[in-house]
Symmetry: C2
Subunit: 283 residues, 2 copies
């Protein structure tokens, strides 16, 4: 497969869970990704879900921990998971903390000098990764949805709202809803984008909802009531609830999960509802 290196392939629920690397021109780095290819892809193009992982995670977490393969097999859905940042680039300070740098790309295009060459996760997903999927796999480009966990849920919502032509459905698991004012988000946006907070807004779901001008869109959002990041005001779903109340085109479908935390045990518990949501929205 031109430009892709298959790292491993595992039969799983009648399809194959595969792991690849490729040389990314956007990030100027070798980027790994995982992809589940259901049996249905042997016969035709399939609806496809992109799952974006959270802080510290990578292309493997959802593939190993969330149990989506059983559902992807059932619904004939491809599921692709990119990494959360470029790695191995010897950028000074890139590995000092788990909240910023390696494993914490925040799905934005950095503009600060130190980061702007490689930390281009926004363009990587929209300009390169999606094309790669369509070119190399049996992805139906008319039926691509996007989801993610925590920082990846933030990513899914900004990608979906800024690119309704690319993504037909949006969901999120315990996402960072308002990164411009949450501690993780402020640190990342200051580091990658600099001190001019007007530039932060284009990557903040709560700022993007009022500007959304695509077809009506429902966001399915699962949030546990026992999430340890809630007291720290990292996620702020309440702000997104407020913003969506004022929108004619973006509807927030809040799925409150009593007693659930922020782990993949929560993600796995909600996964079936998310897969069904995406399949239904893509119809």
């Amino acid at each position: 497969m031109n430009g892709l290196t298959e790292v491993s392939s595992h039969k799983c629920f009648g399809g194959y869970q595969k792991f690849f690397t490729h040389e990314s021109s956007e990030c100027k780095a070798k980027m790994p990704f995982s992809i589940y290819i259901p049996k249905q892809a042997e016969k035709g193009k399939c609806p496809t879900l992109i799952f974006l992982a959270g802080l510290r995670a990578n292309e493997q977490n959802a593939a190993i921990k969330s149990g989506f393969q059983r559902l992807a097999a059932q619904y004939g859905m491809i599921v692709a998971c990119p990494d959360t940042s470029p790695r191995g680039l010897n950028i000074e300070g890139a590995e000092d903390t788990w909240e910023f740098g390696i494993g914490a790309g925040f799905y934005i295009d950095a503009t600060e000098e130190k980061w702007r060459k490689h930390f281009r996760m926004y363009s990587y997903i929209t300009e390169e990764f999606l094309d790669l999927l369509v070119k190399h796999f049996n992805v139906n480009p008319e039926k691509v949805g996007i989801t993610g966990h925590s920082m990846g849920g933030h990513g899914a919502m900004i990608f979906g709202l800024k690119n309704p032509h690319l993504f037909k459905s949006i969901s999120a698991f315990a996402p960072i809803c308002n990164p411009s004012i949450s501690p993780w988000g402020v640190r990342a946006f200051k580091g990658y984008l600099g001190n001019d907070i007007s530039t932060w807004k284009e990557y903040d779901t709560c700022e993007l909802v009022p500007l959304y001008n695509g077809p009506p869109r429902e966001i399915f959002l699962s949030q546990g009531t026992n999430d340890p990041w809630t007291p720290d005001k990292q996620l702020l779903p309440e702000n997104l609830v407020e913003v969506c109340k004022g929108s004619d085109t973006v509807t927030l479908n809040m799925d409150i999960r009593e007693g659930h935390d922020h782990s993949y045990f929560f993600v796995a518990s909600c996964m079936e509802d998310h897969v069904k949501f995406h399949i239904q929205q893509m119809e």
Copy 2:
């Protein structure tokens, strides 16, 4: 909870996935375990499945990777996963290789001087872990089944065949069926039990089947056709097939999985059939 330390607890499919440690008197070490407690355990005693992990694995692998929680929730089954050996004991050479020592206890009671004080996984499971489960959780002691992956599948079969009064059902995922003559098994048995191979037989499923004198027992065994350990003759299910042909009381239910390998993607794909098997056998 007396003698147990809860490390973490995660709501999952309506129940809780919990992680504990306790001080083991058999292994003279702090031992971790994981346990899934379905909602049904709030109201009464539940059928319980013990899952034994393979080489290098621990109490977390099945809980994170195999997706059993959805099924355990559906069938009201507790699932408990012990570790694969004691750890952190500064035994010389215990961490030299992944095939022997730490993470490779082989579910036997060592007799060789260097190992016999701590490496007592056989007695740990039968004399201590099972009692601990019954004492601290809503385990129905009349409905306990045992399963495992690879080295853990070997463990499940020897525990089940040697203790039909304790374990009412046996299954295995790609188990080491004939360790006395497989490279992994020979290394472990020589190391833990010494050179007298007559002592190895009591921990070898292929030797135990002809000696089995309990009630009729069916072993459900899943094996992938693309398992990389097959060419190395580590697993030898074909030997178990032959031995069971000569048995009146032990039936081998071989579940051959076309194209599957040895990973947890294989385990996850087969899990539903195993849970259903145990529930049915326990009725």
